[in-house]
Each structure stands twice: as structure tokens, then as C-alpha cells.
Point group: C2
Chain length 233, copies 2
DNA sequence: CTCTGTGAAAACATTCACAGCG
DNA sequence: CGCTGTGAATGTTTTCACAGAG
């Protein structure tokens, strides 16, 4: 087996998750007018130690100012860049059922730079109708539209049975990553990103916390990137 | 600070996540008629090593048969019991917007033993209307209904701004755990379960995988239990 | 020979603790 | 001082590797 190319420094998996939390919290703080934050303050509201926050940020460079903390706005800019959030992502949703429709109507995606550029559904009956002004297209148009609209990410909101097949079609059409809401593991070839969210698993983790009496508070996490050699939720 | 009571043996946090995956995969295999599974076979389809699977299961007892593997049906029963899935859970949804409506219509919850017994929304305008036959009730009825309907879990599907307040109301009403879809960390007192799912964070993890070129495939995970001394997604 | 359960080793992640900057 | 960045220490999770059961 060939050596796996290890990007730059290789980011601890748990750290990658936390980066999103930092970004979300920082945006909130900037809105509150906090122009500067300390690792202690950030860790406090996220339930992490100050050392943890500093270690995570230090993975990508030196963003802080000794004695002063981090400049909120600058740190946001840096993190956005690191996470690929410094540009808009064009997204398509496959499946116009309950979940698909809710996602298409979820305004936050657009505000955060994830623009839903197309919606597909296999049911001929739905083709031509629309969700909040976005037309539902037949699956047969997928490859054509993904290319024409420069769509980089696909969201799977179809039943379990057709999920892998849809994933294959998305990858063949050229998307670079998939967010999967179907309750099964999706396999994609190396180089394609994958994150899964399973609502039932999320509720089950909750039941487990209660039934088993976990006392630690961190842990399960509702979506999981289940990539090439994956774990998934 | 007092010693934290450690339940039974204390389950590795990542293992708790995987338990849900085992259960989901096992159910699928039983349906296919596979009456027996090996740690290797299970690990294979979930992207885990066989040793990992055995270690996880061994945390709770001895379920396997050397030379033979695990009896699918028995293992499912054991895992269901361990995870608190051997009984029905009554759930309420707070927020009748896009996400709330999609969740109420998500049939899989009921099939898996999570029954949505009530839906609440703060907007007076919605009170009285219904979603798939379930009446939307005003927030003022929350405590009364949670008690009367013996609701144990609450799902938060309201905007960020009111999420913590709704969480407090749910806990005060007596729920034992909360599944949060609002994009912020929710604080609950010790003993109350919490898992969060943030769609934007899920997409962001995907963007990160692509932008940063992560090559490992496991990692981020879309929902996170952000309990008392939490981490959250 | 197949496959589990499990100590022991290795890998990984978090926390500590402190030098050094402003 | 307050606060960052970081090696060293500690704690946790995964993998290895094998004894023993069927």
C-alpha cells in the first residue's frame, strides 16, 4: 500500500470539528461588537480549555497577540480562508421530499455562502413544479446542470435505497463533496468529500446519553464525515 | 471540584457514536437475511477495523461466539437495550418552520420508536393549524402537554435567538434530553442530554475537507452532544 | 481454520506549565 | 500583568497480536 499523502501538517480530526464552532462563535461575538477575544473567553463559552483553543488555532499559524488576544475580525477572515469559506459554494439538492424542501428553504445556507443552484428529483410528477422559486428538475438533467451551473457540492435527501446510486451520479457529474441525509453509509472515491447527517442516529445518541447516564457532555456528534476509509453516522 | 461520578465502566466517546452505526447496519443485514455477522464483515462495511468493532462491543459484555461471529438478531437486541432503544420515546418538536415541519413528517422517527407526540410554535398565527394531522400548540401549553403526554425528549427547531430560552422551557417542563437544530451552543444542567445538529457546520466541514484536502475520511461529524461541559457542533 | 475477547504496544489528542512578547 | 505559542507530560483511543473457544 502506498504512502498516504499527508497534507501540510495533518489536522487532528476533532480539531477540524471545533474550527466550525470557533467560526460560528466568533461571528456572533463580532456582531456583539467584541473586537477582540481571548482563548480563555472563547473556550469558556464553547466548553473547551484555553489551551485547546490555542493549540487548534496554532495549527494554522500565529493569529494571536500576546497580552491582547485575537482580533475577532482578523481571526474570522483567517479561519474562513482556511476552511474554504472565503468563496461561495454552489450546491444542488437531490430529493424534493420533506428534508429536501426544508433544506432548499433554509435561508441560512445562502447567507453563509452556500448557494442552492438546483434541485433534482427522480419523480417525473414533480418535474416542473418548484420550491421557493427554484424549479425541480429531473434526474436525467443532473450531469448537464451540475456542469453548466458549476455546482461543487451535492446534498442527498433521497431514501436510503437510492442514496448510493445518487452519490455515484453526483460524483460522475463532477461534484467535489456530498452531504448525505440518507440513513446509510455512502462510499465515494478518494478525493471526494463526504459528511453524513442521520436524524435517527442523533436522537439515538440522545437516548443513549439518558439511558446510559453518560456524564461527560461532549461526545456523539450528529454528522460525521465518512470518507474513503470512513466512519459515519 | 468534586469527583465526577463515572457510570459503570465509562464508554469512550467515539465508541458511543459507532454503536449507532452498528445498530443501523445490523438491522439492514438482518433484513437481508444475514443471521450472523463477524467483526471483520461489520468493520469492512463501516470502514473500521475488526479489532475496533470487537473492542466496542466488548465494552458491554460478551455477545460473540468464537469461530462463528455474532448472532445478528441477538446483537441487535442487546445493542437496542444498551442504547435505550428497547422502549418507545415520546418526543415534541418546538418550532413549526421549515425544519420543524420536515421533522414532524419524517416517518422514520416513528418507525424507529421515536413518536412525535406534540408540536409547539410561538407564533399565535400558527396555533390551531396542523402538520400531517398533528395540531400546532402555543408555547404556553408546553409544560402542561409535556407532562400530560409523558414527553421525554424535545427537538429545538426555532431560530438561534430563542433557542436557549426554548431549551430552558423544555428542561423546566421535564424533558430529559434535547436535540438542537439551532446554530448555537445550548447549555443544560447536569443530567440532561443534549445533541446538536447544525446544517451549516455540516456543509462547512465538507468545504474544509475539500479546501484543505483532508485525506482520511473519518472526522468531523455533523451532530454533537454538547452537554454540561460541552463541545458542540 | 475461523473468529472472539483482551492484554500490551502504539498512535493520537488534551492538558499542563512556562518562556517570552506587549 | 494578561495572554499567546509550544514543548513536555498525561490521558485516551486505536491497533496489534495472540490465547483459547468452537
Amino acid at each position: 500500500m502506498p504512502e498516504r499523502k499527508s497534507n501540510s501538517k495533518s489536522i487532528p480530526r476533532p480539531a477540524a470539528r471545533r474550527l466550525s464552532l470557533y467560526l460560528r462563535e466568533l461571528a456572533s461575538r463580532l456582531e456583539q461588537g467584541e473586537t477582540t477575544v481571548s482563548s480563555k473567553g472563547l473556550g469558556r463559552t464553547l466548553g473547551l480549555t484555553d489551551a485547546q483553543v490555542r493549540k487548534d488555532l496554532a495549527l494554522f499559524g500565529q493569529f494571536g497577540h500576546p497580552g491582547r488576544g485575537y482580533a475577532t475580525s482578523d481571526l474570522i477572515d483567517s479561519l474562513r480562508k482556511i476552511m474554504g469559506r472565503d468563496r461561495a459554494w454552489r450546491v444542488c439538492v437531490v430529493g424534493a421530499g420533506n428534508i429536501g424542501r426544508a433544506l432548499v428553504s433554509y435561508d441560512r445556507f445562502r447567507r453563509e455562502g452556500f448557494e442552492i443552484a438546483a434541485v433534482f428529483d427522480g419523480a417525473a410528477a414533480l418535474a416542473g413544479s418548484d420550491i421557493g422559486g427554484i424549479r425541480i428538475r429531473p434526474m436525467t438533467d443532473l450531469a448537464k446542470v451540475v456542469t453548466a451551473e458549476k455546482i461543487a457540492l451535492g446534498i442527498i435527501a433521497v431514501p436510503r435505497e437510492s442514496a448510493q446510486q445518487v452519490a455515484d451520479a453526483l460524483v460522475a457529474a463532477g461534484v467535489r463533496g456530498i452531504l448525505n441525509f440518507a440513513p446509510r453509509r455512502i462510499e465515494v472515491r478518494e478525493g471526494i468529500g463526504i459528511v453524513s447527517v442521520d436524524f435517527t442516529v442523533a436522537l439515538e445518541q440522545l437516548a443513549f446519553q439518558i439511558a446510559f447516564g453518560r456524564d461527560d457532555g461532549d461526545a456523539a456528534s450528529g454528522h460525521s464525515p465518512d470518507a474513503e476509509a470512513p466512519t459515519q453516522v
